[in-house]
Symmetry: C2
Subunit: 101 residues, 2 copies
């Protein structure tokens, strides 16, 4: 399992529109990609224009070689890209540990 | 529920020691804080010195007014602080949405 973490900054005043666009983009486009395992989106408290999108992939290739090179990636960016204040910063991570209280 | 996201960069070559220290710090110190709901730690693929610590708190105050002002916060920073390359960047987030595949 690989975690994709995308740090997103959107244009001022467009939160409500972006909330709907990112939810639709993840559930209708990214969720049908090969190797997609789950998602979360969080909105900043200190910075209301900052969003953190987290996607769990079966492997790094499912994201980088699969989804990113698919027509669905273009559809995804067409949906959410117009809200970005700058290109998102995306990195990948391996799980070290996790638990609920 | 509030998500604390801490972006951590550690000193080169100390990953194995830090893996053990952060696991111990979260499970033995942070986990006993009032309002602690769960945790995860991920390690960078592109940057092996980057770690993302995520803590779910019942409220912002449980983290900022409770844990951060407790003696346990000092214990936590004594355990993990010596590995940091620079002070971690910490922000808080509200959940917009999440689901498993």
């Amino acid at each position: 399992m690989i975690l994709e973490l995308a740090d997103i900054h959107i244009q001022p005043g467009r939160q409500a529109e972006f909330d709907a666009a990112i939810h639709r983009g993840v559930t209708e486009i990214i969720a049908r990609a090969e190797g997609f395992l789950g998602w979360s989106v969080h909105k900043g408290v200190e910075d209301p224009h900052r969003y953190v999108l987290q996607i769990r992939w079966r492997s790094l290739d499912d994201h980088v070689e699969g989804f990113r090179k698919s027509a669905d990636f273009t559809r995804w960016r067409e949906l959410v890209g117009p809200f970005f204040a700058r290109p998102p910063h995306v990195e990948h991570f391996n799980l070290l540990g996790a638990a609920d209280a």
